[in-house]
């Protein structure tokens, strides 16, 4: 090919190459969002899935006290799990990024393998570990710390433990790039000036990374917000989150319009909290600068 060919490819090349990615993402990513919005306004019919209409009944139901309470429970559980992930994940990632290469790779393989574990498998194993017959309470009885074995699942503790488990690997992987690119001289300077490692971490590392941390935290929050299997199988009805209700309506009750309206409510709540987290990250950074 000649250099002239190169310049003419500039016109056609990008668009030709982008055709498939753009088509796939528009149809299969934007498409579902548009369809959810549309179906949330549709009317439910018994014989088919739904029929086109513009009604607000679904939103009226989605905003009833029952579902609002579920929304509050969902946001509270997701916030709690995301905060625990932040408190464990950030120092863990920081220490991880400073390990020698060989050990770093071992930890990264463990983190990736945990990330890939199916939510179903995670729920199954935590239900075993917290059960009365084969769970951790047996070990505590054996150690003499508990009088008799107890069942800790289902319950709030089980839901939180398992949610943190599925979200922690994601937390570590989102924090890893900014944390590992952090200039080590910053921390060394703080140490030279007499700061303890913990103090250097809190007063130098955390403020410098505030923006990246806020972004990662928002991502983890959204991920936990949309979890279905764990709240459903490790929670009591009191911990059944909005995703449990959405799946219930969509699959078991065949009420897709209500499921869609609930999904829009969940999306709106998720967006609102994420924006608040991101704004917090930005504001603090400006005042530090």
């Amino acid at each position: 090919m000649t250099p002239d060919g190169a310049s003419s490819r500039r016109g056609v090349g990008p668009n030709l190459l982008l055709a498939w990615p753009a088509l796939a993402l528009f149809v299969l990513f934007v498409g579902p969002l548009v369809v959810i919005l549309a179906v949330s306004l549709f009317r439910r019919v018994q014989s088919a899935f739904f029929e086109p209409a513009v009604v607000l009944d679904n939103y009226a139901r989605a905003l009833e006290p029952f579902y609002l309470e579920r929304l509050w429970v969902t946001v509270a559980i997701a916030s709690g799990a995301a905060l625990v992930c932040l408190v464990i994940g950030l120092p863990f990632t920081y220490l991880l990024a400073r390990l020698p290469r060989r050990r770093q790779v071992k930890y990264l393989v463990l983190v990736l393998a945990s990330l890939s574990l199916s939510e179903v498998i995670v729920a199954f194993s935590w239900s075993l570990m917290l059960s009365r017959t084969s769970g951790a309470s047996n070990a505590l009885v054996w150690l003499g710390l508990l009088p008799s074995p107890q069942a800790w699942s289902p319950g709030l503790a089980a839901v939180l433990l398992a949610l943190v488990f599925i979200a922690l690997p994601l937390t570590v992987l989102t924090f890893y790039p900014p944390v590992s690119r952090l200039n080590p001289e910053l921390v060394e300077a703080a140490a030279t000036l007499g700061a303890s490692p913990l103090r250097a971490f809190m007063t130098v590392v955390v403020p410098v990374l505030r923006r990246a941390v806020a972004g990662g935290l928002a991502l983890v929050f959204i991920f936990v917000l949309g979890a279905y299997v764990i709240p459903q199988s490790l929670g009591r009805p009191a911990q059944w989150t909005l995703p449990v209700q959405i799946t219930d309506q969509a699959i078991l009750k065949s009420n897709l319009p209500l499921a869609a309206a609930l999904a829009v409510v969940l999306l709106a709540a998720g967006a609102a909290v994420s924006i608040a987290i991101l704004a917090f990250g930005l504001k603090r950074q400006r005042s530090e600068a």
């Binding site: 090919m1 990736l112 574990l117 939510e119 790039p177 959204i222 917000l225 995703p243 969509a250």
Partner: protein, 265 residues
């Protein structure tokens, strides 16, 4: 320096991540159909059941088919997209890129519900290919992230030197770009493959009743009673994922593949 508390903290987190695997491995060895930990008696019959009973091997094969194809779809979207952004960086290319990074920023249940209603509207609800395409697009973020890093690691001057010395675009792609890019593409594919293999909620909503994948099968079985065979499968899945990531760590520079800068040590 107080090294011990750092080690203790790292060790505790690693223990937390490994604990379920230890319990699952123990339970899978029970001699009878009970879920005791520590196991009572030792037997490999549940592993045998997984490989011999079509109740379990058929969903496993379905999951494998979906994951192999979904990974290919994800890479087929990510590779040209990342290339277009690196090569031309037009506004349009960057807009599509943003779209490709967005699926991970949606609550998973919304992604699944969206896939369900989309395939109903497209009159393909329950078709096996629907879950392949939905997984492919949902997981595109992973190869897109690694391949973008791969292009960023390419030295543009080397590419330009090859062009100046008369190499055709095909030769440049084959001899300069691809060898550098290969570990990033492979890693992206493996990430998408393993996550698709383990994905539950999208598979359940799109093809849960027509093309039962392994995670769906396990979850359905949990409702009707536990069997150590589920523990055996779970352990095998964890081992497969660990082995694949260990391979990535061996052939490629795992810290760099995950976004760290090149380090000298």
């Amino acid at each position: 320096m107080r090294v011990w508390w750092r080690r203790a903290f790292m060790g505790l987190v690693a223990l937390y991540l490994l604990l379920p695997i230890v319990v699952i491995a123990g339970v899978s060895l029970n001699a009878k159909k009970v879920l005791f930990f520590p196991p009572q008696g030792v037997s490999l019959r549940w592993y045998e059941e997984f490989f011999t009973s079509s109740d379990w091997s058929a969903p496993a094969v379905r999951s494998l088919i979906v994951a192999v194809l979904a990974g290919l779809i994800a890479v087929s979207i990510a590779l040209p997209l990342a290339y277009a952004v690196w090569r031309w960086g037009t506004r349009w290319a960057r807009a599509v890129m943003l779209l490709g990074l967005a699926p991970f920023a949606l609550p998973p249940v919304v992604t699944a519900l969206g896939a369900l209603v989309l395939w109903i509207v497209l009159r393909s609800f329950g078709q096996p290919y629907s879950v392949v395409l939905s997984h492919g697009v949902f997981l595109v973020t992973l190869p897109l992230a690694t391949i973008t890093l791969g292009f960023a690691s390419l030295n543009r001057e080397v590419v330009e030197a090859a062009v100046t010395m008369g190499a055709t675009p095909g030769t440049v792609a084959r001899t300069v770009v691809w060898p550098n890019l290969r570990p990033y593409v492979l890693a992206g594919y493996i990430f998408a493959f393993v996550l698709s293999l383990n994905e539950y909620i999208i598979a359940y909503m799109t093809v849960g009743f027509t093309f039962e994948t392994l995670p769906v099968k396990i979850f359905n079985s949990l409702r009707y009673g536990y069997s150590p065979v589920m523990a055996a499968i779970s352990l095998l899945f964890f081992l497969v994922a660990t082995a694949l990531f260990a391979v990535v760590g061996r052939v490629g520079d795992l810290p760099r593949l995950l976004g760290a800068e090149a380090r000298s040590d």
